[in-house]
Structures are given as structure tokens and as C-alpha cells.
């Protein structure tokens, strides 16, 4: 989770933008919900508070969907929601919370297929690049390769590319549902 925010900031940096990524300052214990934040800007970033009104929300663990207040600060309309799930937004029953720019992608399954481990970070970033057009795929892939050396980096990059293509191929960016297979 934390690495996803870090890689996102590296991708933005590679495009010449300012970026800040940091973990949540809450209790860290195995199994506890974890948050990480990323700000991207064309100007130096001075603010050091956690992001409470995100333009985009990436949810790695769909079991947290019913956590109170999860979508509270999401900037609607226009805010992006990307959920790691093999079910659609409608199937998840959260359509009314997430606005029109919400996508699910089976990132864990894709990660298992390409990386061999259920770590969806890179896959979600590939999907995020396709969904928002905020970052180019090449920057995301370069950030992934910077974070993970050698074969693991290549496998993660392949997973991200697959997710990018899945999302890009979908006809509409609205309430699309992309499956791993």
C-alpha cells in the first residue's frame, strides 16, 4: 500500500511534476487497515496533512468497503474510485457512494498471474493510469522498475501493463467492470 503511493509519486516526478507520498500515521499492526497518501502538483507542495478530500481513491482491500466514512471526503462529481475486486461496482452495491468514475479491476488475480504473489500495488497503478490519464503508462512502468529491481520489477511492470490495457479497452470509463480473464 505504502509502496503504491511511493511509486505513484515517482511516476509523477518522472513527468516533471511535484509529488509527495507518505503513509498514514495510525497504528501499524498486521491486519489493521492501512492508508497511504499521494499529492501531485505542478507547484512545490508545502502542505503536510493527510489527504482527507481525495480526487482519487484506490482501495486495495474490498473488505474495507463498508468501513464507515470511506467515501466521505471523495471529491464528487469527477472523483475517481478504483477498487481491487473481481466484482462490478453494481455487484458491490456502492454505486450511490462513488459517482460516475468508478472502476473495479481484479488486481490480486492479475498479480498472482504475472508476479506469482497476491500483491496488487503495481497492477492497480497500471489501471489508475488508464482510468485517469493523469499519468502516462511509461512513467508508471519506470517507477515500478525503479522500486523493484530485475525480474520482480519486470513481472510487476507486466501486470501493470495488462491492467492498463484492460481498462483502456473498455468502451466507457463509467462503471466499467474489468475481469482478469
Amino acid at each position: 500500500m505504502v509502496s503504491a503511493a511511493e511509486m505513484l509519486s515517482i511516476a509523477a516526478f518522472l513527468e516533471g511534476r511535484y509529488a509527495q507520498a507518505f503513509p498514514s500515521f495510525g497504528s501499524e499492526r498486521m491486519g489493521a487497515p492501512v492508508m497511504a497518501f499521494c499529492r501531485i502538483s505542478d507547484r512545490p507542495i508545502r502542505l503536510r496533512e493527510p489527504v482527507t478530500e481525495p480526487d482519487a481513491l484506490i482501495i486495495q482491500d474490498p473488505t474495507l468497503l463498508h468501513q464507515a466514512g470511506l467515501f466521505e471526503g471523495l471529491q464528487l462529481p469527477g472523483g475517481y474510485v478504483l477498487i481491487n475486486s473481481s466484482r462490478s461496482i453494481d455487484e458491490l452495491g456502492i454505486g450511490s457512494y462513488v459517482g460516475d468514475h468508478a472502476v473495479t479491476v481484479a488486481a490480486t488475480e492479475l498479480a498472482l498471474r504475472f508476479v506469482g504473489r497476491p500483491l496488487p500495488n503495481s497492477t492497480l497503478l497500471g489501471a489508475f493510469a488508464a482510468m485517469t490519464a493523469e499519468l502516462r503508462l511509461e512513467s508508471v512502468l519506470a517507477a515500478i522498475r525503479q522500486k523493484f529491481a530485475g525480474k520482480i520489477g519486470e513481472a510487476n511492470a507486466a501486470a501493470a501493463q495488462a491492467a492498463y490495457e484492460l481498462i483502456s479497452r473498455s468502451d466507457t470509463r463509467e462503471k466499467i467492470h474489468v475481469e482478469a480473464d
Binding site: 509523477a12 509529488a19 498514514s24 500515521f25 489493521a32
Partner: protein
């Protein structure tokens, strides 16, 4: 060279370019990534001519640093929180002996209750130890201050702490201009010790001094800090010339022209304060801020000058002096000897509590209306406090306060 890296990594790479000869460390959150990074560089050979010593405790870490520095080695270590407390005796010794060790503090709260997150209680506890204490606003400044710290420490033969906010800076990925090795080499001369343990020319260091001369030796510690007051801005200026950016110095004012209310703070909260100042200035609210980089020596004159035209001063203290208020606020009051201004102490950001721009904007407006208590606790949950106070009133055996409060919160304490 621009990089998008973690603050700890930026500091590790920069410290390595200062060519330390001995690094000793004991891991403690949140400074661990710094010494881990340096350990890897020593092992891989990227940092040559440096001995990395794993020790058994923080007390050991600084004791080894004292020995290494006394033998003439450029010496570095890092710690935080309880680790700094465990070092305390050696902290005073390093300063008393005049050994130019540089130590990073990844600022973190002190227990009990145990808490791994940021505030300034740890370095504040050592504010009178005789070390110079520099606070970084950003990760760029944290990295840059280490280069300046070695120069300052070695010129004056005085140890320097570089304080950077734990997690908020140590664990944040930012865009950093990491200097080049040749730039640092050109700017930072090799260590020429003022005193050295050398078998060829034996001396002893650490004499016992009785009442006949103890005050005089102690005065010299004060004198050294006064010299640092002159050298810190000069070194910052020389750094600007060589590296092309402003870092360090005594303090940094922000939009104080015409401000009737000026906010004073240390460290990484500065950026958020400046955002709040901009928001208020856009509404023609005359506020400004200053961030203090050099907390020890404390720049009394420069602070007094920067605040001279303000009607009131709001001091954000990220540490609590129970029974008094805030330590930074106390020092700021000393800088305002004429006492024409009202000084509000605001205790904020304890144990990682977020300081938000929204809370700051509200706070500054309250200050301008002179509607603040002289000591204010930002965003304190008074209901929670009052319920615990009533439990204590109602029952003698009311139980441990921290546990009671967590239970009352229904806490899964994982909120931001």
C-alpha cells in the same frame, strides 16, 4: 541531482557524501531507515573509509561515537525518542567534551504512553545539553542541514543534532535535489580535530573539574553557542552560494510585513502554516509566520526583531511542558523582553496528532480576536478528557488513564 526519494534515504545519501569515518547506531523508529541505508552503503563499498558499528544500545551508540570522535574520526549517529533518553548521559558528555559529532533525531514522542509518532518531546528534553539543535522544515532542508552540521560542528568543536519530524519527513517521498559528491567535497574540508587522542602525542580528555574552574568551563559551552549564532547564518549563506538554494540559517520569516499576528513554529508544520497564512492573506487577514531553524542556540535577537511589529504572537509547540505550557513559547517570550505583545502558547501535534490547515486557520482567527487561552491545546477532545476526570473523581481505583481513554474511545486507534 533531482530524485524522488524517501526523506530518510535523502539524509543517508547526503551523510554518506560527508564522508563519515565512523557510524554507530542502534535502530529505533522512525530514524531506522537512515542508518539502514548507511549500513548498506558501507557494506557495498559505496561509502568507503567508514566503519559501521552495530552496538547494543543507544547508550553504547553515543559512547562509541564519543570515543571515535575523540580519536579524530568524523562521526555520525542517529536516534529518536526513548533512544535519545537512554543516551542522555552521553549526550551531555559529548557536548561537555566538545566533540563534533553529528546526530540525526527523527523526532518522536516520549512515553508513557508509548507512541511511535511525531512530536518534539525527545529533542526538547536535550535542549540544554550543549548540543546545537537545528530543525528541518522539509526533506530538502533535512538533507542540506547535515552538510552544514558537519562544517559547523567541526569548526566550533561542538556536537550538532539535526532534528527532522518522524514519519512526516523521515517516511515521506519528496522531490529532493541530492548534491553531488564533488560539490560536497569542495565545500566540506576533511575533519581537522581541535583535540585528539593520539598515542604519538598523548593527552587526556575528560578531566575532573572542581568548583575552582567548573563555571569557567561551563561558560565556554555558552560562548560556543553564541559563536554558533554568528556562524549559522554565515554557513547558510556560504551553502546558498555553493549549492544554489536556501537551507538552514537562524530563522525564516514568511509574509510578516504588516502582520499584526505572527505564528512561530519549528520543523515540518511550517509548510502547512504557510498555506494557512496564504489563505488568510487572500482574505486580507494580516498574519505571517516565522519558522525557527536554530533552536539551540536560540536566536533571541533575530526572533525579537522579526516579531517586533506584531500585536500578538502564536507559538505552535509540538511538545508539552506539563505545569508550564510550551518550551518554544517560553523561549519566544524571552525574546520579547519588552512584553508589548501577547504570546499565545498552542500545544499541537502531540504523538502524531495531525495539524490541519483548517484547524490552523480557525486558530489564527481566534488569536486575532484575542479569544484564545494563554495555553491552548489544539483540537483537544475535551469530552474525552472530562469523562476520564469524572471517572477519577467518582472512583479511587479508577484504573490506568491511557487504557481507560482508549476503552472510552472504543478505540481501534488507527484514525489519522
Amino acid at each position: 541531482m533531482w530524485k524522488q526519494i524517501e526523506g530518510s534515504r535523502a539524509v543517508a545519501e547526503t551523510v554518506a557524501m560527508c564522508r563519515p569515518q565512523v557510524i554507530c547506531a542502534y535502530p529505533i523508529t522512525p530514524q531506522t531507515h537512515i542508518v539502514e541505508g548507511l549500513g548498506e552503503m558501507v557494506k557495498s563499498g559505496a561509502l568507503a573509509g567508514c566503519e559501521f558499528l552495530n552496538v547494543e544500545s543507544e547508550f553504547g551508540a553515543l559512547s562509541v561515537a564519543i570515543g571515535a570522535s575523540a580519536a579524530g574520526a568524523r562521526t555520525y549517529t542517529a536516534t529518536a525518542s526513548q533512544g535519545l533518553l537512554f543516551m542522555a548521559e552521553a549526550v551531555y558528555n559529548a557536548a561537555g567534551l566538545g566533540l563534533p559529532i553529528v546526530m540525526t533525531i527523527g523526532n518522536r514522542a516520549i512515553g508513557a504512553p508509548i507512541n511511535i509518532w511525531n512530536d518534539h518531546s525527545d529533542s526538547m528534553s536535550m535542549r540544554d545539553s550543549g548540543w546545537i539543535q537545528l530543525h528541518a522544515e522539509s526533506n530538502q532542508e533535512a538533507a542540506d542541514l547535515h552538510i552544514q552540521a558537519f562544517r559547523l560542528a567541526e569548526e566550533l568543536s561542538c556536537p550538532v543534532m539535526v532534528c527532522m519530524d518522524g514519519f512526516i519527513l523521515t517516511h515521506a517521498y519528496d522531490r529532493i535535489d541530492v548534491p553531488l559528491q564533488q560539490q560536497v567535497d569542495a565545500w566540506l574540508a576533511p575533519f581537522e580535530p581541535r583535540q585528539v587522542l593520539d598515542p604519538a602525542a598523548p593527552v587526556s580528555i575528560g578531566a575532573m573539574v572542581g568548583p575552582e574552574a567548573f563555571s569557567e568551563v561551563r561558560y565556554l559551552a555558552h560562548h560556543k553557542q553564541l559563536q554558533a549564532l554568528d556562524r549559522i547564518p554565515e554557513i547558510s549563506g556560504e551553502f546558498l552560494e555553493a549549492f544554489g538554494r536556501e537551507s538552514g540559517g537562524l530563522l525564516r520569516p514568511y509574509r510578516i510585513e504588516g502582520a499584526d499576528t505572527i505564528v512561530v513554529a519549528l520543523g515540518s508544520v511550517t509548510g502547512t502554516i504557510q498555506e494557512a497564512v496564504d489563505e488568510l492573506r487572500a482574505d486580507n487577514v494580516a498574519v505571517g509566520s516565522i519558522s525557527i531553524c536554530s533552536y539551540r542556540p536560540f536566536p533571541l535577537e533575530a526572533v525579537g526583531r522579526a516579531l517586533s511589529d506584531a500585536k500578538r504572537v502564536v507559538v505552535i509547540d509540538k511538545s508539552l511542558a506539563p505545569g508550564l505550557g510550551g518550551m518554544l513559547a517560553t523561549d519566544v517570550q524571552m525574546a520579547l523582553s519588552a512584553r508589548r505583545q501577547r504570546v499565545y502558547t498552542v500545544i499541537a501535534g502531540l504523538g502524531g496528532r495531525t495539524i490541519t490547515k483548517a484547524s490552523l486557520v480557525k486558530l489564527f482567527l481566534q488569536a486575532r480576536a484575542d479569544a484564545l487561552e494563554s495555553v491552548t491545546f489544539l483540537d483537544l477532545n475535551w469530552d474525552l478528557v472530562n469523562r476520564q476526570l469524572s471517572r477519577e473523581m467518582a472512583t479511587r481505583r479508577s484504573g490506568p488513564a491511557a487504557e481507560n481513554i482508549l476503552k472510552d474511545l472504543g478505540a481501534l486507534p488507527s484514525k489519522i
